[in-house]
């Protein structure tokens, strides 16, 4: 098998400790493993008591599990973050412009930048929204953009999440837990705060309330309920936002206005932050068997009496096929080059790309455009000769349905595992909020870490863990010089 080398965020590639990690490095050197271990147990206890769990479907015994939390923070410098932030805001701006266009004038299709069938045959394209505009032309109020790093200044977008991205509660709770567990290490860094996220979110949601709303618009958060895997996050956010956490059965639509049932009778809702998929939102418009949604809620939206956040139909912008066009989409609407790069992707629908992919099957990952969860996928370097041959046939039969990417060398971060401190692969999901007054990104995000050695799978459903993400001031070079000279004495 191919021996790949990975870039480590603390040690670069086997070289000196990067300056942003100097204090972490020192701390790791002087802290014995049993102390780290004790801290980790404390953290687990805290998480369990607070109830930061996620549900695992179909298992009765451990129906609530903890996501493993790694106590070694992941560090990003302010200047690196500045670049990311600009790139993230740019990307979300383009996504909103794209959605306005796709459900409106469709100029990008007429210009031939994105093929028609990618939009119209897309399962997430929502015909009910065609010809409609979202309030303030903002469709995606909350976006979670997955970023991977491969080198010093090498950041790539792995995936855009423009529907109901989750994980922000971990960003906030991980920070609280770190402050309690490691106050000294925390104080030794100057870490940009994230705790104002929910205030920004509330402002953002209120700013997009419909014109018919009361002066103090009423916001509510719609959850599928206690048994949803992200229920903890829903209740956490509702609590921090100071809004009601509602379920479908708490809501009713009368005369195209959405109400919640309260002890004092029905009360109007102006903005619904829904954490439930399009398909289940309104049994009258989408899946008729859905009991999670609210009959008629889409009518209230169309009547201009309700803002849905995120809007309906945003999934067309965040799937694998559309992803490959993001650089072109940014250029088309903003007249700029994308600041954040895409992972290079070959679209097999294009003959040149197909030829390249067929020649390099042994080193590429080939994915079905609309597949998810690792189905219909070929991991070239790990596949047998026979599997590759079989996949070649599938590719030739229906090239439009496939894209291919190189196997990514995700960066690693020091992580506390059974055997001690060792490098493990990470990614990053920052959250971009967009309201009537522009976009904001809280400095930080959810760092997910693959706890198994060599694994690139960071998903919590497959044993991935999380880390706190610290955006710190760029280190003062002189102070660092004296710091390292002391250590070498």
């Amino acid at each position: 098998m191919l021996e790949q080398s990975f870039w480590d965020e603390m040690n670069a590639s086997g070289g000196d400790v990067r300056s942003v990690y100097a204090k972490i490095d020192a701390w790791l050197r002087e802290t014995p493993p049993d102390v780290l271990s004790a801290r980790r147990s404390q953290a687990e206890l805290l998480f369990r008591r607070i109830g930061i769990t996620f549900a695992v479907y179909g298992s009765k015994d451990a129906s609530e599990r903890l996501i493993p939390f790694d106590i070694i923070p992941r560090i990003i410098s302010q200047s690196e973050w500045g670049l990311l932030e600009r790139g993230l805001v740019q990307r979300v701006k383009a996504i909103n412009a794209f959605l306005t266009d796709i459900y409106g004038a469709r100029e990008i299709l007429r210009a031939g930048v994105v093929p028609d069938d990618l939009v119209f045959r897309n399962p997430h394209f929502c015909p009910q929204m065609a010809g409609r505009r979202a309030p303030h032309d903002i469709w995606v109020h909350i976006a979670g953009i997955d970023i991977v790093r491969t080198g010093e200044n090498e950041f790539y977008v792995l995936e855009d999440n423009a529907r109901t991205p989750s994980g922000v509660s971990y960003m906030l709770e991980n920070r609280e837990v770190m402050m309690r567990l490691l106050p000294d290490l925390f104080a030794a860094h100057r870490i940009a705060p994230v705790e104002n996220y929910t205030d920004l979110l509330l402002n953002c949601l209120r700013s997009v309330a419909p014109a018919t709303a009361a002066r103090e618009p009423v916001v509510a958060l719609l959850t599928p309920g206690q048994f949803n895997s992200a229920y903890y996050e829903h209740s956490f956010l509702a609590d921090r936002l100071g809004v009601e956490l509602v379920e479908g059965s708490d809501l009713l639509v009368r005369d195209d206005v959405l109400y919640m049932r309260t002890t004092q009778g029905p009360k109007r809702i102006d903005v619904l932050y829904r954490r439930i998929d399009d398909d289940y939102l309104d049994p009258l418009a989408f899946r008729p068997d859905s009991v999670l949604g609210v009959p008629g809620v889409l009518n209230a939206y169309h009547a201009g009496n309700l803002t849905l956040s995120n809007a309906v139909g945003t999934g067309v912008a965040d799937d694998k096929a559309m992803y490959t066009y993001m650089p072109e989409i940014v250029r088309f609407y903003l007249g700029e080059e994308a600041i954040l790069k895409n992972v290079p992707t070959w679209r097999c629908r294009e003959p040149d790309a197909l030829a390249y992919v067929l020649d390099h099957l042994h080193e590429l990952v080939v994915k079905e455009v609309n597949g998810s969860g690792g189905y219909g996928m070929l991991v070239g370097p790990h596949a047998t000769r026979e599997e590759r041959a079989a996949f070649r046939e599938k590719l030739l039969a229906d090239p439009v349905n496939y894209i291919a990417q190189p196997t990514l060398s995700l960066s690693t971060c020091p992580t506390f595992v059974e055997s001690g401190v060792a490098p493990r692969h990470v990614d990053l999901r920052p959250f971009v909020l967009t309201g009537a007054n522009g976009s904001r990104v809280v400095p930080g995000g959810l760092t997910r870490v693959a706890m198994r050695e060599g694994s690139l799978v960071v998903n919590s459903s497959q044993g991935g863990g999380t880390k706190d993400t610290w955006i710190i001031e760029d280190p003062d070079m002189r102070a660092l010089a004296s710091f390292s000279s002391q250590r070498s004495v």
Partner: protein, 320 residues
């Protein structure tokens, strides 16, 4: 407030209170069962009567043959399908708390959640034993009482005095009134005025057990300053306002809290009127009246009235 939230808060408080009551009943039952025969103990009927006090005897019969200590303890502590078991109450309390986390303080939620986690650990350690004994289940009783103490105290200390607090308190006092009434009802035959001559001192330990179950043994002596007379126990637990678990004290609270809801919402309704009527009746009933009506009949009527308050509240606030 969301109607569902009010409902969850009400039931959360009820299940927390019920878990504690079950723990208390187990406590006094094992005390009685340990007495020698000559003192009225060891008749074998103590565990049966614990089931009756908790309204769980019929369900128990479905899955069990003999109501001995081991079987009853397992049923009352760990049976996840028995609505008065500690395990069931904790499960329901936590599920309700989880649904209304936003209406609770963080400490209150963590208190309920920690107790629930502790109960799972206790069950893992103890349930595999073939015989349940009082010793083995002791930590579960402590967990139930501790949860109730924390919940009650934290609600009192931390919660805003608004409808969330009032609905929660209404749940707590409704459950408490129900528990006291059932406890008295299952022992009413030893509380009749003539039992002193009939049963003599044999019943003494039954009487003190009742008082212990509601933490009222010391209170009794303070209030009456005489030896234990069964009719005075009935008086204490039905009519004495200074006794926190008495029916009249529970209704004093209930009437106050439903009134607070009515005032805050700017409207009085059937629930407020009903609570006040029940309170008035309790205040104006003499002990003689109770015995004339018949203790059992009086308590049955009270239990029905108490249930009716819950139904009226639901109609007025949850189903609109």
């Amino acid at each position: 407030m969301l109607a569902r939230t009010a409902d969850n808060l009400y039931w959360l408080a009820r299940y927390v209170e019920r878990a504690e009551f079950t723990a208390r009943i187990i406590d006094i039952t094992s005390r009685l069962a340990a007495l020698p025969k000559a003192y009225g103990g060891a008749s074998g009927a103590e565990w049966e009567s614990a089931l009756v006090a908790l309204g769980a005897h019929e369900r128990f019969r479905k899955t069990n043959e003999v109501a001995d200590e081991s079987a009853v303890l397992r049923f009352l502590v760990f049976d996840a399908d028995n609505p008065s078991s500690i395990r069931y109450c904790m499960d329901r309390a936590r599920a309700n708390a989880r649904a209304v986390r936003t209406a609770l303080t963080a400490e209150m939620w963590q208190g309920v959640n920690s107790a629930w986690i502790e109960m799972l650990n206790i069950e893992r350690a103890v349930a595999p034993f073939e015989r349940m004994t009082r010793d083995r289940i002791d930590p579960a009783l402590d967990a139930a009482k501790g949860m109730s103490r924390d919940f009650d105290g934290l609600a009192y200390r931390n919660m805003l005095r608004n409808d969330a607090y009032w609905f929660s308190r209404v749940g707590l006092y409704t459950e408490r009134a129900d528990n006291t009434a059932r406890l008295l009802d299952v022992k009413y035959h030893v509380l009749l005025p003539e039992t002193e001559t009939v049963g003599g001192s044999l019943d003494y330990f039954q009487w003190t057990a009742i008082l212990r179950a509601v933490s009222a043994l010391t209170a009794y002596h303070w209030v009456y300053r005489e030896s234990i007379k069964p009719w005075l126990i009935a008086d204490l637990l039905i009519r004495k306002k200074e006794m926190p678990r008495s029916l009249v004290s529970c209704y004093d609270n209930l009437a106050g809290f439903v009134d607070a809801i009515g005032r805050a919402y700017g409207q009085q309704g059937p629930a407020q009127r009903h609570a006040r009527a029940v309170l008035l009746r309790l205040e104006n009933t003499s002990l003689d009246d109770v015995f004339k009506t018949g203790v059992h009949e009086f308590l049955s009527e009270f239990i029905e009235d108490n249930n009716k308050l819950g139904a009226l509240l639901a109609e007025q606030y949850l189903l609109n």
